[in-house]
Symmetry: C2
Subunit: 411 residues, 2 copies
Amino acid sequence: MLKMVHKITHVTVRDVRFPTSLEQHGSDAMHTDPDYSTAYVVVHTDSGLQGFGFTFTLGKGTEIVVCAVRALAGLVVGKSLQEIVSDFRGFYRLLSSDGQMRWLGPEKGVIHLATAAVLNAVWDLWARAEEHTSPRVFITCADCFFCLTEDQMLKEGYPAYTTSCAWIGYSDEQLKQLCTDALKSGWTKFKVKVGADLEDDTRRCRLIRQMIGPDKTLMIDANQRWDVSEAIGWVSSLAEFKPLWIEEPTCPDDILGHAAISKALAPLGIGVATGEQCQNRVMFKQFLQASALQFVQIDSCRLGSVNENLAVLLMAHKFKVPVCPHAGGVGLCELVQHLILFDYICVSGSLSNRMCEYVDHLHEHFTSPVVIHDAHYMPPKDPGYSCEMLESSVKKHQYPEGDVWKQHKNN
Amino acid sequence: MLKMVHKITHVTVRDVRFPTSLEQHGSDAMHTDPDYSTAYVVVHTDSGLQGFGFTFTLGKGTEIVVCAVRALAGLVVGKSLQEIVSDFRGFYRLLSSDGQMRWLGPEKGVIHLATAAVLNAVWDLWARAEEHTSPRVFITCADCFFCLTEDQMLKEGYPAYTTSCAWIGYSDEQLKQLCTDALKSGWTKFKVKVGADLEDDTRRCRLIRQMIGPDKTLMIDANQRWDVSEAIGWVSSLAEFKPLWIEEPTCPDDILGHAAISKALAPLGIGVATGEQCQNRVMFKQFLQASALQFVQIDSCRLGSVNENLAVLLMAHKFKVPVCPHAGGVGLCELVQHLILFDYICVSGSLSNRMCEYVDHLHEHFTSPVVIHDAHYMPPKDPGYSCEMLESSVKKHQYPEGDVWKQHKNN
């Protein structure tokens, strides 16, 4: 029960971009030069308490999402946290089903990314208002005290895999070095970007498989580069390296295409993983109904915040498909750790075939960055949804007026 | 062959809104108060020739699409029409697959609506550059001279149906009057909005069926109001009024849901129609693959302009499913008449089960408004894609600074 009403007085939003493309961090077969960015939202209340939230973007066009957040803010200002959380479903629908704005989606693309940014901030506000400082904070919000098996998570954390070793723009030397370092730090699961050139992919997969040995886990990720038959052929060629999954083999909208790929690759022991660009729960529902994926990759900023992610976690459980969230970018690891803990503690109760993506970039800009220990996410200890960025980082990276971008322009 | 290069020097975009909600025009079960609007684009060239284009929106949030058009303009300025049309597929991909901006879609929602607005203007520019003044203009652009059966279309036009009689916010009296007028004007096909209240729907459908008699065509449209089982039950209750189709029975993303509804309603002789919120060709492909619709409703402003609409027309033909475009709003009738003529003349060659939506609003704001004769679309005679609005109308309705909105605010 909230002790105060916390009426929302205004919502601010800023365009914050990191020039990651300069070093090819995050490069893949479809996104060759991403500048990891956020539309960064602060929800202000009359009590002085603030909620922080954001959605993740790749640079250009972040201003469009900022514009969409401003449009949604009109539906939020004047509401109190108390009234929101007493009917959160109603509040979600208010934002996603506005009679005029729903034409712009509905529940997809820019307007849904903006919805996620606003709702993430509201969840953060709620968690802070509850004044919890334990990993329970998020779980409390979801009214799921009952099945908290804190101990194991507090001690060992949630298993993670790394994508940091093998972005497509990295050289073989860089890849080898990063892989050596990762092995030393205890990583056992590795993802490689593929899809631009089969010869390159073969060489890079061979290299990594040799370095990690036959028992560690390898995943490959094509970032939607192929059509259906191309995907089946290409992945079959890479089957000798025993990837656990092929991620985003084709267009994220092509449910039936993914089903065909899943069916063709099953005999090779390779599953299909997708979800970081799956626009909403209705699409996930169909992916599950059509047996079109074997690993569900929820995204904390593409789906409509915690609300819609919970719906997908529950559906995945019903269909007995493991959830392995998408993370990385900027801040996605910070957010998604809450979701995955919730999944383990309240929904699935299993770690079988489950792990969460980890990328080692940009955590230093957050007030409560993720803690990784021995290739595991350690439960967050600060109150809130871990969305808050350092004000100094925000100011420096605001686009286009921050120092980083002014400098960049001058070079 | 173009006589000049027509280099694009700049792109302007304006937020133009019509206060249609004041009279409940366009009201349905999900969109109770739309203000029909456009993000209105002009492409300027060094030759002085201009191309006009837009995408359609429902009021609030149009500024987000305007912002997205500005972001895309950077990819267009500096290109020449000659270079664009010599590789139009490449140009389409340039806009839809930008490495940073595709994250905001890809190819859906705000960014795809903006892509449509820009590309519609480029198609208009191309048609004007070709200097045609006959119905051939559009067909010329698509390199499809060969099968032009002008005569029939020039004489009789393309069959249309009307949605103007039965918006959900209209009273029974209004509905009766409009229906009487429409019958007098030669209309034979009528669409009724349903989905808010079954008792109301039953009364309204009975009223219209009584007025039009047993032989004329009735369609019903729920604008996504139901879930799957609700849709089947509700439509079964209205089956006695013999609707040809139920339009948008559920979430536009739920392909498998539409397939289930199609299967359940087939024995009643009622088809499923959908498409005005179908985000792209990949979704249409699956709707066709899954037998999830019996009428394809393309939209000239939701799909990525002419290019993507042509792809969907060809797929529909392959699957032997008739195309009955969505129109109405503001300007959709003006655009879609070109697409439907192309479908008849170059693709389907059939009028069986085919007709195009017509709504009698806001045509007076266009320089070449559609001509309806005896409930048929008469082929356009002016060069271009019929996108150009009267400059006086644009100025008056620009949001928020136009006179109409200044006045509206003062009331």
